[in-house]
């Protein structure tokens, strides 16, 4: 019995030793509970009401798609509908229709070093140009064309997005606007993601009228000299710029004609319905369709309204008048043709006057505005008066035969070649018409001369087309229809055309447009 007890004691001692050897405390589990997650929710911001009151006007918005622009037309559905409901037409300039929005697809028409075909032509009549996310830089020539367009009062909308590659600064910088290489974010208050920021500080009036708060989705900041329209708060930061607050994702150029927006997403469904985004889009449509565009002579025939009046000086010009009328009909105008009676003093309707230099006195008031005086010599006046009276062309006096051949032709009684007569007459006579232009002096006038002069009235334009003969008038109208007259510009209101003497086809020499 004692041995049993002893053995038991030894074993117990052994186990006790083991316990003490291994265990010197106990684990006290701290109170643990996973965090509560069932009360986490994200509430989408409300939709704001917006005003869609507008005035219907006519005009054209041209959207550039010739620089491999990375957007799709569907993304612009909302603003396009608003623009069209205001009466404006929307046109797309160039580019591959299928490749729109797909930067990897090479366009069919232009390469990055080429000028977009039709840019200059489109801008002759467009009221607004929209450039969105161009992947190719604008060439120098294109930049000059766009600058000229804006200089005439045309409006330019530039849109980019930090989530897509673009070269918009190649055009934006020309107007003092720089799209920064950043994105804006707010970790404290946003629409479901730190890049979906709220903007609630605006410049009063204009594009920002009736805006309290908008939401932008991956927007960037635009640097401009005092041109910001919308401003971020101090909790909205830029990924690159260290300044807090006051960053502008919307900005206007100094002259107010170029608007820059650094987010595309807010214009598309469903983001347009958030807060005051719809109001901003309506304001944008209003701005795009309030045309301030003025026109110059190179913009013919786009400065004419729908029903211009064509006034021909007399019956001699009727055929030319008909020709011009038909040409304008093909351009979609509905001109009225009539013999000139009186030039409207205040220029309230578009007028095209066609006549010879002798008819210049009928439009002397208009010519005076341009500092142009046209004087026809007495002899020329008499000759033309007789021609009118008799209806026959008076033969010019025979010139001395310069060579035997022509003498022989004269002895035979056949008609002397008009070229020979003309050359001789030129050697001996003074020019029949004197054209003097203020600031330029007397224009060298030779046979085959015509002038085109555009005068701007209050709400209308008056275009004078004066030539020295019917034949020259015909040639001039051809130049006008083809656009070749732009090679003969003296300035933005005046062109002087000289018909070439040789029978070779005229190749207009491209000259920089006078400013």
């Amino acid at each position: 019995m004692r041995k049993l007890i002893f053995l038991l004691v030894v074993v117990l001692l052994f186990l006790a030793a083991q316990t003490i050897f291994f265990y010197q405390g106990r684990y006290q589990a701290p109170p643990t509970a996973p965090p509560r997650l069932d009360d986490i929710y994200v509430t989408p911001p409300p939709s704001g009401e917006y005003s869609e009151r507008y005035r219907r006007e006519t005009g054209t918005v041209v959207i550039d798609r010739s620089h491999s622009n990375s957007f799709s037309i569907e993304e612009l559905n909302v603003p396009l509908m608003r623009i069209m409901s205001r009466g404006f037409a929307v046109e797309y300039l160039g580019g591959n229709e299928e490749a729109a929005g797909n930067p990897e697809e090479p366009p069919r028409f232009v390469g990055p070093e080429e000028k977009a075909p039709g840019l200059e032509d489109r801008l002759r009549y467009a009221d607004t140009l929209v450039i969105i996310l161009p992947q190719w830089a604008f060439t120098e020539e294109e930049v000059e064309t766009v600058k000229e367009f804006v200089g005439k009062g045309g409006k330019l909308l530039l849109v980019a997005d930090p989530t897509r590659h673009h070269h918009i600064n190649s055009i934006a910088a020309e107007f003092g606007l720089i799209f920064e290489d950043d994105y804006l974010y707010n970790l404290k208050e946003n629409d479901g993601n730190f890049r979906n920021i709220y903007v609630n500080q605006f410049r009063e009036g204009g594009i920002a009228q009736n805006l309290t708060r908008i939401a932008l989705y991956s927007a960037g900041s635009i640097s401009s000299p005092g041109g910001g329209i919308a401003f971020t708060d101090t909790n909205t930061l830029s990924s690159r710029i260290t300044a807090r607050g006051g960053l502008s994702p919307l900005a206007l150029s100094e002259d107010g004609r170029v608007l820059a927006i650094f987010d595309l997403t807010f214009m598309a469904e469903p983001y347009n319905n958030v807060l005051d985004n719809n109001q901003l889009i309506s304001n944008l449509a209003d701005w795009l369709t309030e045309s301030q565009r003025s026109f110059t002579l190179p913009d013919f025939p786009y400065f004419l309204k729908e029903r211009p009046r064509i006034a021909y000086a007399d019956a001699q010009m009727l055929d030319s008048g008909l020709r011009l009328k038909n040409s304008l009909l093909e351009q979609g105008k509905s001109p009225e043709l009539e013999e000139h009676e009186e030039t409207p003093a205040d220029g309230t309707e578009d007028l095209i006057f066609i006549g010879l230099f002798k008819d210049a006195e009928k439009v002397a008031e208009v010519l005076e505005r341009g500092g142009i005086s046209i004087t026809v010599t007495e002899e020329e006046e008499e000759k033309e008066a007789k021609e009118e009276e008799t209806g026959e062309e008076i033969e010019k006096p025979e010139a001395a035969a310069p060579n035997g051949e022509e003498e022989a032709m004269a002895e035979d009684g056949e008609e002397t070649p008009p070229e020979a007569i003309a050359e001789d007459e030129e050697e001996e006579k003074e020019p029949p018409v004197s054209i003097k232009i203020e600031g330029l002096g007397e224009v060298f006038q030779e046979e085959g001369t015509s002038i085109l002069y555009l005068s701007r009235g209050k709400d209308a334009y008056t275009l004078l087309i004066l030539a020295d003969s019917e034949k020259t008038m015909e040639t001039t109208l051809k130049q006008l229809e083809s656009g070749a007259f732009r090679s003969w510009l003296v300035n933005q209101e005046l062109a002087i055309y000289h018909a070439p003497k040789s029978k070779e086809p005229v190749r207009p020499v491209r000259r920089p447009a006078a400013r």
């Binding site: 316990t19 003490i20 291994f22 684990y27 589990a29 997650l37 986490i40 994200v42 479901g192």
Partner: protein, 314 residues
């Protein structure tokens, strides 16, 4: 009536009484000496031999600290391995504490959450101490905050608290032959709502970190939501970890929390004979997951607690 004892009984009684206190003390000293001898014999001879330890384990098992390694991206395969190891650690009587060695860029959200919840469950019974190696980013840090204590090296990468997401396609391709019964049958949700989910998941992540670190955290939620990466020294300053130290330090801490000494360390992965597939070691991603992801993510959004290096565009 008085009880009559025998002479022998009386002598024993008298002897004991004579010895009295001295006898009791003697017996006590004897017991202690026996204890000490037993301790020394056990420590030096028995416990360190296989036979000895297996015999002694039959009486009082030698406490063990289990090592669980998270050294790959967290996807379904990793999750399954981790869950099995955590279950083993929880069920084993000899395992008294766990050290979690973390070296991972994170991974899928639901897989990460599963591991997190299992560690939280284990922690109710046994202490878990995390030891961060080269880095515990995103989901890996999510897992680490489930532990009682976090060690890291001075230059370990820690943090990147945030969520990646793949959105459903913008436009659904319609078919006349395969027809769903609702507009979100294939996508699961609109893109806008999916982004809202992402924000909720992110907030959940932040709350988990705040809850796990408690008063030790010295960083605002806004700062956390930037998803920045911090090195160990910084992480210590901001309370993202508890101490700078090695895995050995983590083991000692785990032992101290469990109240054990003279423990052994057991690599549970080796114990269970689990092997990390070679494709996980090289790419960090399970091709099965990739295959499943590539088809699954085409139709529903997927979330990732994962560090992704930025793409270089210039």
């Amino acid at each position: 009536m008085k009880r009559i004892y025998s002479v022998r009984q009386w002598r024993i009684w008298r002897g004991l009484k004579q010895w009295g206190v001295w006898g009791g003390l003697g017996y006590a000293v004897l017991a202690l000496v026996a204890l000490a001898i037993g301790y020394v014999i056990f420590d030096t001879a028995i416990a360190r031999t296989k036979i000895g330890s297996s015999i002694s384990d039959r009486f009082i098992a030698r406490p063990t600290i289990g090592i669980i390694k998270l050294d790959t991206s967290i996807f379904s395969f990793t999750r399954d391995m981790m869950v099995e190891m955590l279950r083993y650690a929880r069920d084993s009587d000899s395992i008294k504490a766990v050290v979690l060695e973390v070296e991972s860029p994170g991974g899928g959200v639901t897989s990460t959450e599963e591991i997190y919840l299992d560690i939280m469950r284990l922690r109710e019974e046994k202490p878990v101490v995390a030891s961060i190696g080269m880095g515990a980013l995103s989901g890996a840090y999510y897992v680490a905050v489930a532990s009682n204590y976090i060690y890291a090296k001075p230059t370990s990468f820690i943090g990147n608290v945030g969520v990646w997401i793949t959105l459903p396609p913008e436009r659904e391709e319609l078919s006349e032959d395969i027809i769903p019964t609702g507009p979100f049958k294939s996508s699961g949700s609109s893109r806008r709502r999916t982004i809202a989910w992402q924000e909720m998941v992110k907030q959940g992540f932040i709350r988990t970190v705040v809850s796990g670190r408690g008063d030790k955290l010295r960083m605002s939620q806004e700062e956390l939501s930037k998803a920045e990466i911090y090195i160990g020294m910084e992480a210590l300053r901001y309370g993202l970890i508890d101490e700078l130290g090695s895995t050995s330090d983590a083991i000692e801490r785990a032992a101290a929390m469990a109240g054990i000494t003279n423990y052994r360390v057991l690599d549970i992965e080796e114990e269970l004979d689990l092997q990390t597939p070679f494709f996980l070691l090289s790419s960090g991603e399970n091709p099965q997951d990739q295959g499943a992801l590539s088809s699954f993510k085409d139709i529903v959004p997927l979330y990732y607690f994962m560090y992704r290096a930025p793409e270089v565009t210039r």
